[in-house]
């Protein structure tokens, strides 16, 4: 069946901000969809609130709405754009749920918009857990026994006949939010309450627990002619009970006989047909009882998912791209497989390697949360590795995580596990945690049997035996010794995935310490180097022309040599808090820009969620860990042919930056490794600022408490203590007195979570700075070319004061309050610093402005988190410009080319707001500080700062109220500013509630306080407590600024209650002021939507093309 031409305009909904359970994978799928639909000649309208995505680049859709993903907003967009169809199956759970709301509210009917991909009934059948079970039983598929409940009584009734343990799972949720396993009645009661609350329709499914069974996933595709194919099978190493998103997963399935696999395949087809997903990709999850093979269906996602992104990268089959084509009417046999280009997409990929995905967590950033894995997803990112065997891919995957581990143990990190006695080690391994794979290796290495480990952990004996193979090989090469290794020995140990660094550690002893470099050169001298194989969807059966490679130790190499000049771009690895999609955006932009400029682009990355690891983003993709060894391997290979221009290290965040020093000087494109070091090295950086006469907060470096105290004695309090060489403000704390300072130093020197990050030592001193209170923080992104011209890309004024990590605070372009004079000082400083560091490419400088005086906080001669936001706010493709500059173009030349156009500074204000994952970590305090904890960001863009801020809050899920009651509870230092907020809101007709102290202050200054609220601590029983107030949901907005910190202060109770009852909560008075302004403007203007293209055209004063 050919492409449908009864539809012309298609609305695509993205997945919004990066949150746990919904990350870059939907930028990958959405970007593919946009491309395909445009290729097919449709008019594409895109809605997504996330500015850091590739898909929201103005040239990926005809109309790009960076607007809050909210029914009201989407209705306005639909009203304006009148799409014929809505494609919601590529934007994750967010898009799916919005589509359902649009259906329920009759919006799609009113504007007769057709829901393509999956229709409402199909979505409901898959998403409503009880409907789904019934459907599965209808077609004779097994499901775990269960009951549905809508309140606590029903829930308690349910377990009478189900018995315990059970799993509680809310309907319509994402990433396992609000789910859990309960073994006791009390646990059950708690979980039921949370679950009922987490479900938008307050419905939970209570299901008998089958924790410990084997867990599988199949990626299915179906076309409108009812052809069905399986793209990939995935087996979880962690058994049922650990969310697939938190499990180590392996493709293809390893321990299923063909008889079992084919039954599962039949079941998956029956499932997608019964649910009624007309076209596209779906993900079906199964569990199998290892004792007798009983198979049950766990769930089905009627859309592309995290797993389909993984499956696409694992097989080379572009699920989202194909899904988009199917949605507009093609059938699988009509679509060519663009990897082989000889064969159609209607087939089932066969692979000849093993893919392992390993999640990465951020527990250390959320004190109080146990790092235990369960049915609720908690990981913030993942790495994928390809090897010819499981051991090889497992070890590659573990070193891809960048957690300081060199592979599966055989490194200093193993000491932690070797210190435990057998029983303790097995006991710990029995619980799913990030440490599990290392515990398993340690256990097997000391001779604990596979039988015993299997009984304790339920990790399949096949996987355990594969780990044993690694263990045996280690013992073998340790016995042989570095000197005596033959070529065959080298080949064999490398085939099992051992890194040179692991071997160096293994062979080092008292007489002699080896470096990874020593091992490398000996290995190479023995003629042992990796070859690069191809991911081709067909296990070599057909010729493939897609250059998607992975390294392994085999006979023959498959890289097709060319003679074009090439640039290698180092990606940013697994997502983590502080380094996420923004950096992938940068790498992808560089690749596009350099490709257009005639270079061959070579991407190295190991994050399966990203656009950068899409095989047609760059001319060549190497899916490899970003470690010294793996990167050098690729560079060696690429150096063997054509012209090697160099390596871009400054666009992928800290990951590639750390590698810069290891590369030959002349290979590093743009800013030199030396300059990078100059900016990172505290001492040298300070003297540079002194020399440039740029003020910095007073401070010094200390490696002992005594030294620290000496510094504060001189600079005074409050002071900011932060370890060096960390990202995202890791473990930064503000101290107000000697006692706090000593505690902070103790925590740093102790083997706390910081042990991983390196802790405290002479080489890694902590920085102690005077903390600038009530200072306004400002971010600047700029590009400098080799001639010395500096282009100021954007100046962002933060909403929250300095002290809230730049990544966690809202910021605006253009700066709403900074004076022209301050701005010019900031620009001057930024230029001077760029000049002094001889930056070629991007630089980000952070300032704090206090009482008109400008201090510099830090400079990063690399792409920053904010460049995508700046590009979208100003219409200048900052990274593309920087990439060209790094390979020698000058800004002047780019202007002549028309590549660099003036920034759009008038007509609109853009506000970036951070999105924080506290709902996932209820134990953690939601107050913001110098340690970054946000997972993603949204952008609000509109005519005034107020409107843009209001939109940003709406997009971040904290919609500001337009009427009702505001609850204020302020620290003393905030009371003055708080008064202004309260007055404005009172004038807007809001009623005010406040805690005793705040209330008194407001009353004295003539602001009427309706309800006075008790502090928990001074139990004045005549007054309601804050928590009671929030429980009775009379409050529409909370403004609470912390008094001191730590879980004991009542501010904590207020904030967690606000979280629990979903009342938007602002934790700085600055945000309160912005909100007041937003609500005021909102009251005047109401909601208006406008596409990015229109904003940019208006800003350029061009004619708007009419729709």
């Amino acid at each position: 069946m050919p492409r449908r031409d009864d539809i012309h305009t298609i609305l695509l909904i993205g997945s919004g901000p990066i949150v746990i359970g919904q990350a870059c994978e939907f930028d990958y799928s959405g970007t593919q969809a946009c491309r395909v639909l445009k290729e097919e000649g449709y008019r594409v309208v895109l809605a997504n609130s996330n500015p850091a995505t590739i898909m929201t680049d103005p040239d990926f859709a005809d109309r790009t709405y960076i607007e809050p993903l909210d029914v009201e907003v989407l209705t306005a967009i639909i009203d304006r754009e009148r799409p014929d169809a809505l494609l919601a199956t590529l934007g994750g759970q967010t898009a799916l749920n919005l589509a359902m709301e649009l259906v329920e509210r009759g919006v799609l009917e009113r504007f007769n918009v057709e829901l393509i991909g999956a229709d409402a009934t199909a979505i409901a059948t898959a998403e409503d857990r009880s409907q789904f079970k019934v459907a599965m039983q209808e077609i004779g598929l097994g499901v775990p026994p269960s009951a549905v409940a809508h309140d606590l009584d029903e829930s308690m009734e349910a377990i009478r006949h189900l018995g315990l343990p059970v799993v509680i799972r809310p309907a319509y949720i994402l990433g396992g939010k609000g789910t859990g396993i309960a073994s006791t009645e009390d646990e059950f009661r708690q979980l039921a309450i949370i679950g009922l609350d987490a479900s938008p329709i307050s419905e939970i499914l209570i299901e008998r627990s089958i924790a410990g069974w084997k867990e599988y996933e199949l990626e299915v595709m179906r076309d409108r002619a009812d052809n069905c194919v399986i793209i990939c099978s995935i087996e979880n190493l962690d058994p049922m009970g650990v969310h697939t998103g938190d499990s180590i997963t392996v493709a293809p399935a390893q321990t299923l006989s063909d008889v079992e696999y084919q039954l599962m395949r039949d079941a998956a087809f029956a499932c997608i047909r019964r649910v009624g997903v007309e076209t596209g990709g779906s993900n079906v999850q199964f569990a199998i009882n290892p004792e007798d093979g009983t198979m049950v269906v766990i769930e089905m996602n009627p859309r592309v998912s995290r797993s389909s992104a993984l499956a696409s990268k694992a097989t080379g089959f572009p699920i989202a791209k194909i899904a988009a084509r199917l949605a507009v009417g093609y059938t699988l046999d009509e679509i060519p497989n663009d990897i082989t280009s000889k064969t159609p997409a209607c087939f089932e990929p066969s692979i000849d390697y093993v893919v392992t995905k390993i999640p990465r967590w951020a527990f250390e950033k959320f004190p109080g949360t146990p790092s235990v894995l369960g049915t609720q997803m908690q990981s913030v990112g993942e790495a994928m590795a390809i090897g010819r065997t499981f051991p090889e891919s497992l070890q590659k995957g573990l070193r891809s995580l960048e957690l300081g581990r060199l592979g599966l143990n055989c490194d200093p990190g193993e000491a932690e596990f070797d210190a435990l006695d057998d029983d303790e080690l097995v006991r710990r391994a029995a619980v799913g945690t990030p440490d599990r794979p290392f515990q398993l290796e340690a256990a097997l290495r000391r001779g604990i049997t596979i039988e015993r480990l299997y009984a304790a952990t339920r990790v399949d004996p096949w996987f355990l035996d594969q780990i044993s193979a690694i263990v045996e090989e280690r013992a073998h090469v340790a016995a042989i010794g570095f000197e005596a290794m033959t070529a065959r020995d080298w080949q064999r140990v490398k085939r099992l995935g051992f890194s040179d660094a692991q071997l160096a550690w293994l062979w080092s002893n008292f007489e002699k310490t080896l470096t990874a470099g020593d091992v490398r050169s000996r290995r190479l001298s023995m003629g042992i180097a990796p070859v690069f194989k191809t991911v081709d969807t067909c296990a070599g059966e057909f010729e493939a022309n897609t250059p998607y490679h992975y390294a392994t130790y085999e006979d023959t190499d498959e890289v097709v040599e060319t003679d074009r000049p090439k640039v290698v771009i180092l990606g940013s690895g697994p997502n983590r808090i502080g380094q996420g999609i923004e950096f992938d955006y940068c790498c992808v932009h560089a690749s596009f820009a350099l490709r257009d400029a005639g270079y061959e682009t070579v991407m190295i990355n190991c994050n399966p969620e990203t656009v950068s690891t899409d095989y047609d983003t760059s001319d060549r993709l190497y899916f490899e860990p970003l470690t010294e060894e793996d990167v050098l391997n690729v560079i060696d290979r690429e150096s063997r042919f054509g012209e090697f221009v160099g390596v871009i290290v400054s666009l992928g965040g800290q990951t590639p930056l750390k590698l810069a020093g290891l590369l030959q000087e002349h290979l590093v494109l743009g800013t030199s490794a030396a300059s990078i070091d100059l900016a990172e090295d505290r001492e040298r950086w300070n003297s540079l600022c002194a020399q440039l006469e740029i003020p910095q907060p007073a401070g010094g470096t200390a490696s002992t408490a005594e030294e620290a105290l000496a510094i504060t004695a001189h600079i005074g309090y409050p002071a900011l203590v932060r370890p060096s060489y960390v990202l995202g403000g890791r473990a930064m704390t503000i101290v107000y007195d000697d006692e706090n300072l000593q505690r902070a130093m103790k925590e740093l020197s102790g083997f706390g979570s910081l042990g991983k990050e390196g802790g405290l030592s002479a080489e890694r001193p902590v920085l102690v700075d005077r903390f600038l209170e009530d200072a306004t923080e400002v971010d600047v992104d700029a590009v400098r070319d080799a001639t010395g011209e500096v282009l100021i890309g954007g100046i962002m004024e933060h909403v929250e004061e300095a002290g809230v990590h730049s990544g966690d605070s809202a910021c605006a372009i253009p700066p709403p309050t900074l004076s022209a004079q301050v701005i010019s000082v900031i620009e001057g400083y930024a230029r001077a610093i760029a000049e002094a560091l001889e930056v070629v490419g991007l630089i980000n400088v952070q300032f704090a402005v206090r009482e008109g005086q400008v201090f510099v906080i830090e400079a990063n001669p690399r792409a920053s988190r904010t460049v995508p936001f700046v590009a979208k706010a100003t219409g200048v493709p900052l990274v593309k410009v920087a990439a060209r500059v790094m390979v020698g173009a000058t800004l002047a030349e780019l202007r002549k080319e028309g590549f660099l156009t003036p920034a759009i500074t008038s007509g609109h204000v853009a506000v970036k707001e951070a999105v924080l994952p506290f709902s996932r970590f209820p134990e953690a305090d939601s107050v913001l500080g110098p340690e970054m904890r946000s997972t993603g960001e949204v952008m609000g863009i509109d005519r005034t700062f107020g409107l843009a801020f209001a939109k940003s809050q709406m997009a971040a899920g904290g919609r500001l109220p337009d009427a009702g009651s505001i609850f204020l509870s302020l620290a003393d230092r905030d009371k003055a500013a708080g008064l202004i907020v309260a007055r404005r809101l009172a004038n807007l007709g809001f009623t005010i509630a406040a805690t005793v102290g705040t209330a008194a202050h407001l009353n004295e200054n003539g602001v009427a306080v309706e309800t006075v609220v008790a502090k928990l601590t001074d139990g004045d029983s005549s007054l309601p407590t804050a928590v009671e107030l929030l429980a009775t949901t009379k409050v529409n907005l909370v403004i609470n600024t912390p008094r001191g910190s730590g879980p004991r202060s009542d501010g904590y109770d207020i904030r967690s209650a606000a979280g629990l009852y979903h009342v938007p909560c602002l934790t700085t008075v600055a945000a309160g002021l912005a909100a007041a302004q937003g609500m005021a403007d909102w009251a005047k203007h109401g909601l208006e939507v406008r596409s990015l293209q229109e904003h940019h055209q208006a800003g350029r004063g061009e004619q708007l093309e009419l729709t």
């Binding site: 002619a225 009812d226 052809n227 099978s233 293809p252 399935a253 390893q254 321990t255 299923l256 006989s257 063909d258 008889v259 079992e260 696999y261 084919q262 395949r265 039949d266 290892p290 004792e291 007798d292 093979g293 699988l332 046999d333 000889k342 064969t343 159609p344 209607c346 087939f347 089932e348 990929p349 066969s350 692979i351 000849d352 390697y353 093993v354 010819r388 065997t389 499981f390 596979i450 039988e451 399949d460 004996p461 096949w462 035996d465 044993s468 193979a469 045996e472 090989e473 073998h476 194989k533 067909c538 296990a539 070599g540 059966e541 057909f542 010729e543 085999e554 006979d555 023959t556 498959e558």
Partner: protein, 367 residues
């Protein structure tokens, strides 16, 4: 769970040498081959699971099977999954042989089965290099074992693979036997028939499996409702006399053929067959069913195919979506049809099982 784990100490270095001189280093697994040399026509198979069914499929008689998926043997083996009384292949080539099996259905390790049934193997091979080589040069004879390269090269070049040999004679049953107890009566020619096919036929009919040499008159004397032509090894052109026999049966009784059976039916109908460059060996081949336009993912294992345009009296019913090779035919005026691929699966997808129903309908309509 088996615990005999062959560790490095027991490694026996071995070589694989192709007749064109390509050499691969690996280590010996499975049974010992007489004086360290095993030979056969080297073919690759791209299935991700189903190694036991493949190894025990008689169609592989005379061949050495290279598995493209690196981990083979993970879930062990079970008598339930045997496709015939013993393997007929000459050996297997893998990247990694499982040291330990894990699956509730299994009662033996794959390596144990190889040793028990005398099938030698070689592991540690860069099977992707091998596959791409065969893809470009076509499948060819090879030899592997623990002996020296020169000896192996000579053996490889001395091995004439399956070309020009009647392989069926080596695999067909000596005496007739019966399976199933359905109403209908089917005579099934055994050219190397797979157990899964018998399982399916057995659900439709009482099936008498007969030697490839049985004459048409003997078959017709049994008054069957239908005759089945089984899969089997080698070059259809070399199967002595069978095509002639089939000619006599066409029109007399409904006929259904699979794989070699399909090629022989076509030959009997006057069509020509030819050898494919490297054949179809895998579980993921898309086939278009021309009557509906729908696609079936099929299990395939054949080096020969029916030449297009050489069929006068039959229509093409199925084609391979990848390369257009004829995958199914049906006679216009007489009740006979056949497919090149394996609707019974074992191993592979179940998409094409409806063909057994079609055979049943055809039998019920009669001639």
């Amino acid at each position: 769970m088996s615990t005999d784990v062959h560790t490095r100490q027991q490694v026996r270095p071995a070589l694989l040498v192709l007749s064109d001189g390509e050499v691969f280093e690996g280590e010996a697994i499975g049974a010992d081959s007489p004086d360290g040399v095993a030979t056969g026509e080297v073919v690759f198979n791209t299935v991700l699971s189903g190694y036991q069914e493949v190894i025990t499929d008689p169609s592989y008689a005379g061949q050495v099977i290279a598995f493209t998926y690196p981990h083979i043997g993970n879930y062990g083996v079970t008598a339930l999954d045997d496709e015939s009384r013993r393997p007929f292949c000459r050996g297997i080539i893998v990247r990694e042989m499982a040291r330990r099996r894990s699956n509730w259905r299994a009662d033996e390790d794959l390596n144990e089965l190889l040793i028990r049934t005398g099938v030698p193997g070689i592991a540690g091979i860069d099977t992707r290099r091998l596959t791409r080589h065969l893809r470009d040069t076509g499948s060819m004879p090879g030899a592997f074992g623990t002996t020296d390269e020169a000896t192996l090269l000579k053996a490889a070049q001395g091995e004439d693979g399956t070309n020009g040999i009647d392989m069926v004679a080596q695999v067909t049953t000596a005496n007739p036997y019966v399976v199933g107890n359905g109403q209908r009566r089917v005579v099934a020619y055994d050219f190397g028939i797979k157990t899964t096919i018998l399982r399916h036929l057995g659900e439709l009919a009482t099936v008498e499996i007969v030697p490839a040499t049985m004459s048409a008159s003997e078959v017709l004397a049994r008054q069957p409702d239908g005759v089945f032509l089984s899969n089997g090894p080698g070059d259809p052109a070399c199967v002595v006399g069978v095509a002639e026999t089939i000619k006599e049966l066409i029109g007399q009784v409904p006929i259904f053929g699979i794989c070699l059976g399909h090629q022989l039916l076509a030959t009997a109908l006057g069509a020509e067959t030819y050898k494919l460059a490297f054949g179809h060996h895998g579980g993921n081949h898309p086939v278009r069913r021309l009557s509906t336009g729908s696609i079936e993912i099929t299990s395939q294992n054949h080096n020969f195919a029916v030449a297009d345009g050489t069929l006068a009296s039959a229509d093409v019913t199925h084609i391979n979506l990848n390369d257009g090779v004829i995958e199914g035919i049906r006679c216009r005026d007489v009740p006979a049809f056949s497919v090149q691929y394996h609707p019974e699966a074992g191993p592979g997808p179940h998409d094409a099982r409806y063909l057994f129903e079609e055979f049943a309908d055809l039998m019920d309509k009669g001639t």
